[in-house]
């Protein structure tokens, strides 16, 4: 069965650079969530989208932005990268935003040097 696809798997950037992470949800899933997991930490919710509109906002820095496109894939744009942005970024999708369980991608590991 199709799963949530994230790209790239690994990304290395320097401070002050920008990065774009992509998430392709499971077909027919209209809700996408982004999580950030720092080393040794629990995943922190960043932002979610439902039907291409922002649904909920968590601890997403102002330097980050995200959107969901007409094909329901989502991109997380990160600018002015800082060392502390080094983390594993997970995308999850669900069939709807209320009762359906999340399906997680394998994550993008971002390293900022």
């Amino acid at each position: 069965a199709a799963g949530v696809i994230q790209s790239p798997r690994h990304l290395i950037k320097e401070k002050r650079e920008t990065a774009t992470l992509k998430c392709y949800p499971i077909p027919r899933h209209d809700t996408v969530y982004w999580y950030q997991q720092g080393p040794g930490q629990d995943p922190q919710f960043l932002i979610s989208f439902y039907e291409k509109m922002q649904s909920d906002k968590g601890s997403i820095p102002d330097r980050f932005s995200a959107q969901q496109f007409s094909d329901y894939h989502s991109e997380l744009n990160m600018s002015s990268l800082e060392l502390g942005d080094s983390a594993l970024y997970f995308c999850a999708s669900s069939l709807d935003r209320n009762n359906s369980p999340l399906h997680f991608g394998n994550g993008t590991r971002l390293t900022v040097t």
Binding site: Y35, D56, P101, L102, N106
Partner: protein, 108 residues
């Protein structure tokens, strides 16, 4: 590649009953997590299991880890309605991998 399988995916149980959720994983790892997720909410950390034979309990939930069998269990004792949620296990290998989640519904 690390794979994590949870079962059951859906669980409907009555209040007061006991049940166990299973989490199998495919490669060696010594760090396993259990999370709870309520609809529309973020993940809530329940347990971190770090070594073979580890057992942790919090209220009506108890988690254990058998690294030799590559199996973790989340046992629910005398379920109450407030436990209704989706429970994820996640395994930390080279990267973190999440199970598909177990959607638990506790009925009166």
């Amino acid at each position: 590649e690390l794979k994590v399988e949870q079962n059951p995916l859906f669980l409907s149980m009555q209040e007061g009953k006991n049940y166990t959720i299973y989490c199998n994983y495919s490669t060696t790892s010594d760090r396993l997590y259990w999370y709870r997720q309520d609809p529309g909410k973020s993940l809530e950390s329940l347990f971190v299991l770090l070594s073979n034979g580890a057992v942790k309990q919090e209220g009506r939930l108890m988690a254990s880890l058998d690294t030799k069998a590559r199996l973790s269990t989340l046992h629910i004792t005398a379920a109450v309605h407030d436990l209704s949620a989706t429970y994820f296990c996640a395994v930390d290998g080279d990267d973190m991998r999440f199970g598909a989640g177990t959607r638990l519904t506790v009925k009166p």
